[in-house]
C-alpha cells in the first residue's frame, strides 16, 4: 500500500512537478535509473547483512532472507542496466558506454550475483549450502567498493576522457522529486521482498506438511 502510494506519487511528481531541464524530457529517466540503482545496492547490502547474521547467530530463516534480498537486488540491478542503457542511448547515442562507472559496475555485479544463483542451485540444500551462499554474499558487498575503485582506475588507461553526467546542481523541486522516487523504489523493493519471502515460506511449510503426511 505504501509502495503503491509512493511510486504513483513519484511518477506524478516526475512528469508534472519536476521542471524540465536543458536535457529536455530525456532527463526524466534519471528519476527512475538512480533510485533503482540505489535500491539494488540496498538489497545487496541487506542480503549480505542477513548472510552475516546467519553466520554469526544462525537464526533459522536468515539464509532464505539473504537469498530473497539478493534475488530482488539482481532484479533491480537488471533494471538499472536496462534504464542506464536507455539513458546512454538518448544522451550519448549508444546503447552501451564503458565510461559510465555505474553501468559498468552493475554489469560486474550482475555477473557476480548471477554466479551466486549458479552456486546456490548447484549445491544440495542444507547447512553447508547456507554457509557457502552466506560467505559468497559477504564477498559481494566487499566487491562493490573494490570494483568501483577498479573501474575508476581502469578509466585512466582505457578512456582518458570521461563524460560528466552531473551537469548543473539539482534544483530543490528536482531533489524533492528524486527523494520521493527513491522512497518509492525502496518501498517497492521492500514490498516485493516481503511478498517473495512469504511465498517461499509458504512453499517450505507446504513441503514440510507434505513430508509429514507421506
Amino acid at each position: 500500500m505504501l509502495a503503491t502510494t509512493l511510486v504513483s506519487a513519484s511518477i506524478a511528481l516526475i512528469f508534472f512537478y519536476a521542471p524540465v531541464d536543458q536535457d529536455g524530457l530525456n532527463q526524466k529517466i534519471f528519476y527512475f535509473h538512480v533510485p533503482i540503482a540505489f535500491t539494488a545496492y540496498a538489497c545487496f547490502g541487506w542480503g549480505a547483512w542477513k548472510a552475516f547474521v546467519h553466520l554469526w547467530k544462525r537464526p533459522p530463516g536468515a539464509d532464505l532472507e539473504s537469498y530473497v534480498a539478493i534475488h530482488q537486488g539482481v532484479i533491480f540491478g537488471a533494471m538499472t542496466l536496462i534504464t542506464g542503457s536507455i539513458w546512454a542511448k538518448i544522451s550519448w547515442g549508444r546503447w552501451w558506454v564503458w565510461s559510465s562507472h555505474q553501468l559498468v559496475l552493475f554489469l560486474v555485479l550482475f555477473l557476480f550475483y548471477a554466479a551466486y544463483f549458479m552456486l546456490r542451485f548447484s549445491v544440495e540444500p542444507g547447512p553447508q549450502r547456507e554457509n557457502l551462499c552466506a560467505v559468497y554474499a559477504i564477498f559481494g558487498v566487499v566487491l562493490i567498493p573494490i570494483s568501483y575503485l577498479a573501474i575508476r582506475l581502469a578509466q585512466d588507461y582505457i578512456h582518458p576522457v570521461t563524460f560528466s553526467r552531473h551537469g548543473p546542481q539539482m534544483a530543490g523541486s528536482q531533489f524533492a522529486t528524486f527523494c520521493v522516487a527513491l522512497a518509492g523504489m525502496v518501498a517497492l523493493a521492500g514490498f516485493l521482498y516481503r511478498l517473495e519471502l512469504a511465498g517461499k515460506r509458504l512453499d517450505q511449510r507446504l513441503r514440510e506438511l507434505r513430508e509429514a503426511l507421506a
Binding site: L55, V108, L109, L111, F112, A114, A115, M118, L119, S122, V123, E124, G126, P127, Q128, N131, L132, A134, V135, Y136, I138, F139, V142, L143, I146, S147, L149, A150, I151, L153, A154, D156, Y157
Partner: protein
C-alpha cells in the same frame, strides 16, 4: 602444542609433495600458459600495439591460475581427504592458508616460465609488471583457493569455478594491466595490495564456514 605456522607449513608441504609425486597440476599449467601465449600471437593483428599484448599476458595469467585452481581440491573431494583435514587438530583457516601457499607456489612457477616466454614471443617485461604479477598472485591464490573450495562442494564443480572467480578477478586484471602499461604504476600496485589485504582477511575469516556445516 604446535603453532599455527607449523600447521600451515606441514599442510602446504603435504600438497607440494603430492604434486611432486603425481605431477598432474604444474605441467598442465605450464603447457596451458605457453599454448595460450601462442594462441594470443595469432589473435593479435600485425599493427596491434605492444600494450595490447601486455593485456593479453594478464588474461593468460588469470586463466592459467584457473587451470591450477580447478585441480586444487580434487583430492579433497574425490578421496574425501577433506574429512581427514577437518578432523586434524588445527585451525580450519590453516587449511586455507596452506592450500593457498601451494596454489601460489604453482602459479609462481608457471610464471617463472611464462614471463620469459612472453618476453621472447612479444616484448620485454619491466619491473612494474613483475611487481604487479607478484601482488596479483597473492590475491588470486587467496580468493581463488576459497572459491575453489566452494566450487568443489557443488555439483557443477569445474564449471562453476570460472563463473565465481572471474567477476572477482576483474579488479586484479585492472591493477595488473594498469601497472604494466602506465608510466607511474604506484597507484595500481597500491590497489593490488589493498585487494590482497581485504580479500585475504575475509577469506581467512570465512573459510571455516565454507568447509563445515
Amino acid at each position: 602444542m604446535r603453532s599455527y605456522a607449523e600447521d600451515v607449513l606441514t599442510l602446504a608441504r603435504k600438497d607440494l609433495m603430492l604434486e611432486l609425486r603425481a605431477r598432474d597440476t604444474l605441467p598442465a599449467m605450464l603447457l596451458f600458459v605457453i599454448a595460450a601465449l601462442v594462441v594470443f600471437h595469432f589473435a593479435l593483428p600485425a599493427d596491434a600495439s605492444k600494450l595490447a599484448a601486455k593485456g593479453l599476458l594478464w588474461v593468460a595469467i588469470v586463466f592459467t591460475a584457473l587451470v591450477g585452481l580447478t585441480r586444487a581440491f580434487v583430492a579433497e573431494r574425490e578421496q574425501r581427504t577433506i574429512d581427514g583435514l577437518l578432523l586434524a587438530p588445527c585451525d580450519r583457516s590453516a587449511i586455507w592458508l596452506a592450500k593457498g601457499v601451494a596454489v601460489l607456489a604453482f602459479l609462481v612457477l608457471a610464471e617463472v616460465v611464462a614471463l620469459p616466454a612472453f618476453a621472447l614471443f612479444f616484448s620485454g617485461v619491466n619491473g612494474a609488471t613483475i611487481a604487479g604479477v607478484a601482488l596479483a598472485d597473492l590475491g588470486i591464490a587467496g580468493v581463488g583457493t576459497l572459491l575453489a573450495a566452494m566450487a568443489s562442494l557443488s555439483r557443477a564443480r569445474e564449471l562453476l569455478l570460472p563463473l565465481l572467480f572471474l567477476p572477482l578477478a576483474i579488479p586484479v586484471i585492472v591493477g595488473g594491466v594498469g601497472a604494466s602499461v602506465v608510466d607511474s604504476p604506484g597507484r595500481y600496485l597500491g590497489f593490488l595490495a589493498l585487494y590482497d589485504v581485504v580479500f585475504a582477511i575475509i577469506s581467512w575469516a570465512s573459510f571455516e564456514y565454507v568447509v563445515t556445516e
